[in-house]
Each structure stands twice: as C-alpha cells, then as structure tokens.
C-alpha cells in the first residue's frame, strides 16, 4: 500500500514538473509570415528591426503587420523577452510611445495561436512569432537560415 502511495505521489510530482520541462525544451520560436510580400528568409537584425517597428514596409512596399501573442501568455512573454528584450509592460509602453507619436502601426496581439495564424495567413505583409506552427500551409520564415530562433 505504501508502495502504491509512493508511486502515486511520485507520478503526481513528475506530472506537475513535466510541463515546465516541456516549455523549457520548446522555448524555440518560429517566425511565420504571409505568403505575399514577406520574404522567406531574413536575418536576426532585420527581424528585430521589423518587430520593433523600425522597418515599416517590405521591399515590395506593402505595410508590415506585426502579429504577437499577448504578453500575458507565456509565448507572448517569451517573445517579448527574446526579441524585444523587454518585459510585457515595457513592450506595451514601447509601442504606446511609438503609436502615440504616429511612428508605427502597433502590433496586433492575440490570445490564441490559431487566431494569430489565421491573421498572418489572411493579412498581406503580416509577420508573427509562434512556438510551433499548427497550420502547415503557413509560410515559415527562415531566420539566419534557421526555422527556429
């Protein structure tokens, strides 16, 4: 009986720790883009420049539409940290300042991955960041030749 209880408690502990271990392993980001206008491969510097609103148009002239998961989500928070090197609040303040001065079009934040994928798929010039891509038809942008960053 004690053995069974021990195994149960151990299993419960392992079960609780498993998501963290999975997140930690999956903290790789995939950049997706609309099939139109968004280039298939860019370097990290350009990627950061695009996501910070420093590059407003693609080479074909279409507007850059940034799609991000909300910073309240883990992936959103991670993305903020990874790409912007900011906390979620700092990111919001950052874009508020830019938007206030009319310098950029603010990113569109989503609660779910599916919404973000659908937005990127349907919006010309849209580029977004995800953990993994569900929609296999979506265009994955290679960053410095890699699918994940």
């Amino acid at each position: 009986m004690k053995r069974i209880l021990y195994i149960f408690i151990l299993s419960l502990f392992i079960g609780l720790l498993l998501p963290w271990s999975v997140n930690a392993q999956d903290e790789q980001l995939v950049v997706i883009g609309n099939a139109v206008s968004v280039p298939s491969e860019i370097d990290m510097n350009l990627l950061k420049s695009v996501f910070k609103g420093e590059k407003l148009r693609w080479n074909d002239g279409s507007i850059v539409n940034i799609a991000l998961m909300k910073t309240s989500t883990p992936i959103g928070s991670y993305t903020s940290n990874k790409i912007y090197n900011m906390t979620g609040n700092e990111l919001n303040k950052y874009f508020l300042a830019l938007v206030f001065q009319g310098k950029v079009k603010a990113p569109t934040f989503f609660n779910s991955v599916n919404e973000l994928e659908a937005y990127v798929a349907q919006t010309p010039g849209a580029i977004g960041v995800l953990q993994k891509v569900n929609d296999t038809l979506l265009k994955i942008i290679l960053v410095d030749g890699k699918k994940q960053i």
Binding site: K93, F95, F100, A106
Partner: protein, 465 residues
C-alpha cells in the same frame, strides 16, 4: 412737440425693431460665442476622453486599434497644438505622512513641443486633461487646442450678427413705414375730409380700401357726411319755406305799416308815436256815394271801390305817399312820412291831379259801357301831425292832429273832381301850380278858412279847364 400718427407708429415699430436688432447684435452673438466655446471645450474633452480610453485599452488589453484611431482623429485636427501622455506619480515625504502628485511628460505629439504638464488654458489655448488608470501606468491625456478657430468663429458670428441686425433693421424700417403709411394715410384723409366738412363742404367722402376698424371708420364717416348733407338740404328747404313765409308776412306787414315803422316794430316789438312838423294829408271821397251805392249790389260796389282804390294805391306809390286807411268810400294818405322829406306838398298835389285824371278816364270807360261813374272830391292840407301805432292787435298806422281834420274838412268842402287845398299848401305850391281862390268857407269846428282849387301845373293849366 406733437407727433403725427404716422410718426408714432413708425417710432413704435422702430423701437421694437431696434430692440430686436440690438438683441441680434449683442445678446445673440454673446450666446452663440458661449455655445461655441462650450462646444469647443466639449469637443476637446471628448477627444481627450477617447484617447485616454484608447490608451487604457491598449495598456490593459494590448489592443492599440482604439488609441490609434483616436489619435488619428486628433492629429488630423488642424486646431491641435499638442497631445501628451502625462504620467502622474505620488511622491511621499520623508516621514511618509503626506504625498504630492508629480506630473511628467511621457510622450508628446508633435515631438518638438515642450509641454508643461501643469499648463492651464489661456486666451490662446484650451487645455483639457482626462486621467487614465492602468496597472502599469497612471496618468492623463492632455490635449491643447488653439483658440484661433474660436476667435475666427466669433468674428464670423459678429459679422453675421451685424449683417443680420442691419437687415432686420432695414426690413423693420420698411415694414414700419408701410404699416404707418397704411394706417396714417386713411386717418389723414379722414382728417382732411372732416376739416372740409367742417368748412361746409358736404360732398366729401373717403375711399375705403381696408375692412378693418379704419375702413369701418371711413364707412361711418361717409354715412355721417351723407346724413349731414341730407339734413342740410332739408334745413335749406325749410329755411327757404320759412323765408318765403317771412317775405309774405313782411309784405303783409308793409301793406298795413310803413316800412320803417314795420322794421322798428319787428326790431323792438313796438313803434313809438312820432311828431312830424310838416306833412301833407290828402283825403278823397266819392260824391253821392250813398246814392250810387244803392243802385249797385254789395259785391259790385266793393269791386268798384277796390278798383278805384287800387288805382289810387298805384298813383300814391309813385309819389312815395303813405296810405293811411280807407273809411267807407274815403281814402286817406299822407306825404312826408314816415321818412321826412321836403317834396311832400308837391308829391301830394301831383298825386291828387293824377287821381282826378284817372277817375275822369275811368268814368269815360264806364259811360262807354252805359254805367254811371264816380266823381271824386279831394282835400289836401299841409301841417304837423303825430304818427304811430296804437293798440296791441290788428296794428294800424295812423296819424293824428288838426292837420288831419283840416284835410278832411277841405275834402268835404271840395267839389266833384276838384282838388281843394288849404292856404298853407297854396303858399307852398303857388309858384308852380295854378290855383283858384275860393274865398273863406266855413267848416265845422274850424270856422271860416281860405280855400283854393288846384287847377294844375302852371304849364298845364289848360288840362283841367
């Protein structure tokens, strides 16, 4: 100063129009400017509220669409001076017993403007702030708009008000003039017509173009004038009739009274007896009248007397001799009264001669038809008399005195178709008339007095022979 009706109406209308024009000129612009300012403030507040709400949604929901849209509206507004996000922080004192709110500018659009987070509105700018609270940031949205548009709008309102005021005044003036004219013209026409009616012109009438009270007044005036005209015609007719009656009564009065005595009687209600120093009294009488009258009917007799006395009347009127009365077949008249003159002896003798001629001619006419004639006896005497009216009924002008008796006695002592005159008369006319001394003849009550037959005017002596 007396104002005409037209002036009063015009002044009244102008007063009302002036008040309205002043209202448009002053009160209306002030009110509109207040509304403009309120609307302007409300609009800026709405902008600030919208932006603040957008900021709050952006920071809490990570949805920037609202703030982007709001800011696009704000930035597109030409009146915008700046829009700022002001951060507010509570700064406690060292003892942590009190705190102060410190404001700092987070971001401003446009970037090149230095914003005082504590700035208030002034004549040139209107500043509006709307606070927002988020977990990550507290602050307020400050909008500053230029008041140049308000000033421009205010100027436009004042110009429009001045133009409207002027237009209202001119229109009011025009309407007032028309109204005053519409009322005063018929009133003045009525006044003029009334003045002419007052002067006696009853042909006046006024034209009535309206059916209001003034029109009714005109109708009443015209009716009044027509009634007055009818009344005056009736009065004139009555007056003519009255004058005719008066003329008849005057003629009747003059038939029985001398004109001067009649005038005195009409004027004073009585006529005083008057003494005349010298008049000439003439009596006629038909010889054997009683015997002749017995051969005639009463009517025939009266007709004959009327015919003869009418001839006498016509004769003595020519010589300005006053008929006194007839008594039976006697005819009495007097020359030299009631208006005194110096020709009365000559007037009387000329009349007597003409009466004799007239009777002789008339007798010939009667004899021609086989009728008997009348012989007339005439007696004339000149002397003083008293003339006047006695009694209160059936006025009769009469003369009194011995002269009357003497003339009567001379008539009695005369002969057929002869003129018997007294010595006093003879002495007056003897140079111009041919007379025959009859001697002294005794008459009743006077004794013997000298008498003369008047034969005629000396040149015409043959006529009576």
């Amino acid at each position: 100063m007396v104002l005409s009706v037209q002036s009063k109406i015009l002044l009244t209308v102008l007063s009302i129009v002036l008040m309205f024009a002043l209202f448009i000129l002053f009160y209306y612009p002030a009110r509109q400017e207040r509304y403009l300012l309120e609307n302007y403030n409300t609009e800026i507040e709405n902008y600030a509220n919208t932006v603040a709400l957008g900021v709050k949604i952006a920071l809490t929901e990570e949805n920037f669409e609202g703030v982007e849209m709001a800011l696009n509206f704000v930035r597109d507004d030409s009146r915008l001076q700046f829009v700022s996000i002001i951060l507010t922080d509570s700064v406690w004192n060292n003892d942590h017993t009190d705190y102060a709110i410190e404001k700092s500018v987070f971001k401003t659009y446009p970037e090149n403007i230095e914003v005082d987070p504590y700035a208030e509105s002034n004549d040139n700018f209107i500043n509006k702030s709307t606070p927002f609270l988020t977990p990550m940031m507290n602050g307020e949205i400050m909008l500053s708009f230029s008041t140049s548009e308000i000033k421009k709008g205010r100027t436009q309102i004042r110009i429009a008000s001045a133009v409207a005021s002027f237009v209202v005044f001119v229109i009011g003036l025009f309407i007032g003039y028309l109204l005053a004219r519409r009322i005063s013209v018929p009133v003045l026409a009525l006044r003029d017509a009334a003045n002419k009616v007052g002067e006696g012109d009853l042909t006046q009438s006024v034209k009535n173009k309206s059916r209001d009270e003034i029109g009714e007044l005109g109708v009443a005036f015209n009716k009044m004038v027509r009634d007055l005209s009818s009344a005056r015609k009736e009065i004139d007719q009555r007056r003519k009739e009255l004058m005719n009656e008066k003329r008849k009564s005057d003629e009747l009065l003059l038939n029985i009274l001398p004109s001067e005595t009649a005038e005195e009687l009409k004027r004073t209600g009585k006529a005083k007896a008057k003494h005349y120093d010298s008049v000439t009294v003439l009596f006629t009488d038909f010889k054997d009248f009683t015997a002749i009258s017995e051969k005639m009917s009463a009517n025939e007799l009266v007709n004959e007397l009327h015919h003869c006395f009418s001839m006498f009347d016509n004769i003595i009127r020519k010589y300005n001799i006053e008929k006194i009365k007839t008594i039976g077949d006697s005819y009495m008249c007097v020359a030299g009264l009631p208006v005194k003159n110096t020709t009365h002896p000559f007037d009387a003798v000329n009349a007597a001669l003409e009466i004799i001629d007239c009777i002789i001619t008339y007798n010939k006419e009667r004899e021609a038809i086989g009728a008997s004639g009348f012989d007339v006896r005439i007696g004339i005497h000149t002397g003083p008399v008293v003339a006047g009216i006695v009694g209160v009924n059936k006025f009769a002008y009469d003369i009194w005195g011995s002269t009357v008796n003497t003339a009567s006695r001379l008539e009695n002592a005369s002969e057929a178709n002869k003129v018997n005159i007294s010595e006093s008369l003879y002495n007056i006319i003897k140079d111009k008339y041919d007379c025959s001394l009859r001697g002294k003849i005794d008459v009743k009550g006077l004794g013997e007095i000298p008498m003369y037959f008047l034969n005629g005017i000396k040149k015409l002596t043959k006529k009576l022979n």
